[in-house]
Symmetry: C2
Subunit: 236 residues, 2 copies
DNA sequence: TCAAAAGTGTTCGAATTACACCCATGG
DNA sequence: CCATGGGTGTAATTCGAACACTTTTGA
């Protein structure tokens, strides 16, 4: 068979919006760009797709290069294809968001990329259209997390209820009544209370919980309703 | 500045999942593929992205080639990049879903593509990974329509409440109580009742309604809740 | 002993569900 | 006059929102 002659071919990159959570606030992992143009500016971690590689494969590779982690929650967001988005040569970018347990991130591995965690709220300006990518990623996560329990992917194995609540509050930029929140979360049956307490946050200490993995898998596709009501949603 | 040498470049296609609604059921517009491989098999309408063209631009062009329509509701779904998805040469495809008023579709224009509307429920098998694309498009529309009033894009200027209800029932593959449905819809304030009736569907006739365009624009981003409850959702 | 965060119940109103009959009309 | 689909109301329940005090303990 003949090839599709006469058609143009383009560079394809994947860019990862990598989120973490420090127990208080959402953070984003950024790198100092190593190549021209815009060398040494802050940027998303990305890379070109290789000939034999799927998009998901490329995203996983890129993520693993930076963090050393495998099996991370990674989901495609969308393709960006403005002809002028990269000034050197037309490049499509496919974005992915990654949710990682910030504690698993090995700093050593990232040294070559000059990576740094920023509070999502005050991340620096990024190159090209990366700021828009981050905006869209935030929006996508709000959507997804309103219906599916993905935010647990950001937490360590053991976490406390106040941490969990901080997480939801930070994602939706809202305040949640803690009694209502705990009732709702408990109703999902996704949490298993552990006998230990985390004493770092307070004198009284907060009980650790872990995720019921089986129920998590089983309920993942179920529609939940963690979504705050419109008037509580701050859409900035 | 230098180019990104040593990197591979790929063909990029856009493929459109085009939905319509005949007053009873959701339909999908398919074409008989004109080129090898898989010539004469049923396929989504698509095309290669041109050097100076944005992705949205390519999708609009492709859609307009087939339907003659401009200004159609079109939204990117996602990128498909399996290295082997096109047997001739590696091609990425970016999918878009289009919601069109089926009455505006001009058959003449499409004759060259051998296009045909199929009931979504019994569409034929499609080439490559197009079946998966359609599945994902259905899922995406369910998501989106649960929160935003996009389904109005499928209706003609004047439509009846039974038509609207059929539409939601077909999208979610469920039965909705008509009293509850109308109450909910009315509460949005999106509908304006017209003095005329559509007599084609019954002897009594059903009143026509039109969309309040201003409120539609204003409320589009607001979170609604047309989503049926989990146990009513048939997830096939 | 007190500051600081964790944890716990109840009440109220709104929203959702379930449910059944009359209406208008063309044939 | 009757078959067909269009249109309407109410009661019961569930769900979400609002709300404040007690507990624990390290400093």
């Amino acid at each position: 068979m003949t090839k599709y002659t006469k058609q143009s071919r383009f560079l394809i990159a994947v860019d990862c919006i990598i989120f973490g959570f420090d127990g208080e606030h959402i953070k984003i992992l950024l790198i100092k760009r190593a190549l021209e143009p815009e060398k040494d500016k802050w940027s998303l971690m990305g890379g070109f797709v290789k000939p034999e590689e799927s998009l998901d494969g490329a995203a996983n590779r890129v993520l693993s290069q930076l963090t050393g982690l495998e099996g991370v929650y990674l989901e495609q967001i969308q393709a960006y294809g403005d002809p002028l988005r990269d000034p050197i040569e037309r490049t499509l970018s496919i974005t992915y968001f990654a949710l990682i347990d910030i504690n698993k991130y090995k700093t050593q591995l990232s040294d070559q990329f000059h990576a740094e965690w920023f509070l999502l709220k005050d991340a620096p300006k990024l190159i090209f259209d990366h700021d828009k990518m981050v905006e869209n990623a935030k929006e996508r996560i709000r959507y997804k997390a309103a219906l599916h329990p993905i935010l647990f992917e950001l937490l360590p194995k053991k976490f406390t209820l106040p941490q969990l609540q901080n997480l939801y509050e930070d994602v939706y930029n809202t305040n949640i009544d803690n009694r209502n929140f705990i009732r709702k979360i408990s109703a999902t049956g996704l949490l298993i209370k552990l006998p230990e307490k985390d004493k770092t946050g307070s004198k009284k200490g907060a009980f650790y919980f872990k995720l019921d993995k089986k129920k998590y898998q089983a309920n993942f596709q179920a529609f939940l309703s963690f979504i705050p009501k419109p008037d509580k949603l701050i859409t900035s």
